[in-house]
Symmetry: C2
Subunit: 328 residues, 2 copies
Amino acid sequence: MQGMTANPGLIDVARRAGVSTATASRVLSGRGPSSPASRDAVRRAAAELGYVPHPVARRLAHRSGTRIVFAVRDERPDILRDPFVTRAAAAMAATTEAEGLGTALLRLPLHAAAELDRLAADRSVAALVLAGHDRALIDRLPAALRSRTATIGAGGSDVDSAAGIGALLHHLHRTGRRQIALIAGPRWLAASRAPLAAYANLVRETGSPTRIVHGDFTIARGRAAAREILRRWPGTDAIATVSDATAVGVLQALSAAGIRVPDDVAVTGFDDSPLAEAVHPGLSTATHPVELIAVSAVRAALGEPSAGRLFPSHPVFRGSCGGPAAAA
Amino acid sequence: MQGMTANPGLIDVARRAGVSTATASRVLSGRGPSSPASRDAVRRAAAELGYVPHPVARRLAHRSGTRIVFAVRDERPDILRDPFVTRAAAAMAATTEAEGLGTALLRLPLHAAAELDRLAADRSVAALVLAGHDRALIDRLPAALRSRTATIGAGGSDVDSAAGIGALLHHLHRTGRRQIALIAGPRWLAASRAPLAAYANLVRETGSPTRIVHGDFTIARGRAAAREILRRWPGTDAIATVSDATAVGVLQALSAAGIRVPDDVAVTGFDDSPLAEAVHPGLSTATHPVELIAVSAVRAALGEPSAGRLFPSHPVFRGSCGGPAAAA
DNA sequence: CGTTGCGGTGGAAGCGGTTCCACGAAATAG
DNA sequence: CTATTTCGTGGAACCGCTTCCACCGCAACG
């Protein structure tokens, strides 16, 4: 009757299992030696007591950092309100919370080596998650920091955008589009590569012409890019993009030019954001499991081996790439 | 030369100031008595050493909770991906991180008294931030929990939606709209009251007819609500809403019905979300400083007295409520 | 002049884990 | 059958801060 503390601690588990807290700690953390007998006793005791390790105490004893920093490379100061960033940050906070780690949000301008040095020197940083950075910069990180850094994109955790966008591209081709243009991501962004590869693949397989313009992830740039495409390649019958926001800009430009979607030109996005459902016609797009990616990146940064890498993206079809182009 | 530890601790400060850690702690936390002399010495030493308190150690010693829980009342399981929720959660995580507090995200179904009891019993919960709950439920909280609870809406930190929506409503009236309908929030939601008050105000001041329909914050419900308004009050020349998503649904319904915006019917939203810029015509709306509100709520829940309450909302004008209705 | 009261103080005991280290028993080697 | 590892173990220090409590000197009190 004496084991029913409000919330049992390691010492309660140890007492009940008839071992020391040292042994109990070793068993439960899996580090260090332990005999099958005590292993069993400790585990049973922990289960019976409903033991939950105290994350803060654990952090303190670990002497490791206390926060994970999520650094997004972007020039726009309001990037921290971006849906991608907030979704990722919320997911990170929710998972690291259980381990007593805080999540800090940070924007890094393009060339912020000094800021990175400061992070490397800051002992309170348990792990660093970078988004929007390229390998070159990451390789240049101080070794001490790099070992506890993971990335979103740039070879780290990422969405399989090649598959998602590839599926959309092939759908376009299958439904009769033959002059498919792509508005890719910014040139400096490593994440831009996969969609380009998917597009190159389509070109190679089908012999379609290559029509690429670079954008960012804003509606305004989408509008401009669409106008550029219409000017350079008047016969274009489909515009694929790498973000819903860009695609929305495309829809606006096409509408302004009196071009019908999908009858004259089909459009596809990427992200499956609320935007895709909001516009008319509804945007065909592909899913982007931001939360899963964010959590996986945090795990990787904390040195967890199991952290997966590439997450699937599934196409979602709405009105913007409906039937074939044979409307004439 | 011996004070230059990597990161100085309280003990270093105390040593340098020639006092005990107890005194140093008292001085720096402002709790408990201290003489002007030691106060001065400690503060100077802390400044010279660049002392930064260790948040995790502080949490541990405080014996108080280690996490703040952000509980959103909603039926939809995917509410935790909602932009409002993720923006708020990211902001909370970023601010509480510095104090060694984690941020947990939780969805509460409408009638989840049991879940609240569990939270009340959970010693690890330092503070609770509720969103979407009404006063009745909050008053019914166990006293121990209520004392460390703050709300978003329901009398807690909130956006001054009455002002934001009031400004939009008056703009509509000033530009000649005389049959203004409102799609309000859900009846059960406390936050729905302020916009209704603003609308009632308009009705009283201008003698316009009262036309209210209740929606939620989804595009689909916005469509349905718009259809209902068109059916019940055919003369309606403006539809105000309390969320951009709802307004987008309205735009879709109007477009489907062949009604021109803003020529025949003006539309306004609320939130100034990316949606507002994405649709055609652009949505006139009002800003919603979610981050400020979230941070203020956390502060309030942690017992900080300075936590502000009502944050301003500013109208943002785009095409959806352009010129007067005199298009005929 | 001997209480009492009180502001200020430092020692020390936590908070709840992790980990170093010394130590005894069992297993292997010589 | 000793000498040497090896393995598992518990005691105790420690992470960095807060706070209880005993204690001291000093002013005001009777």
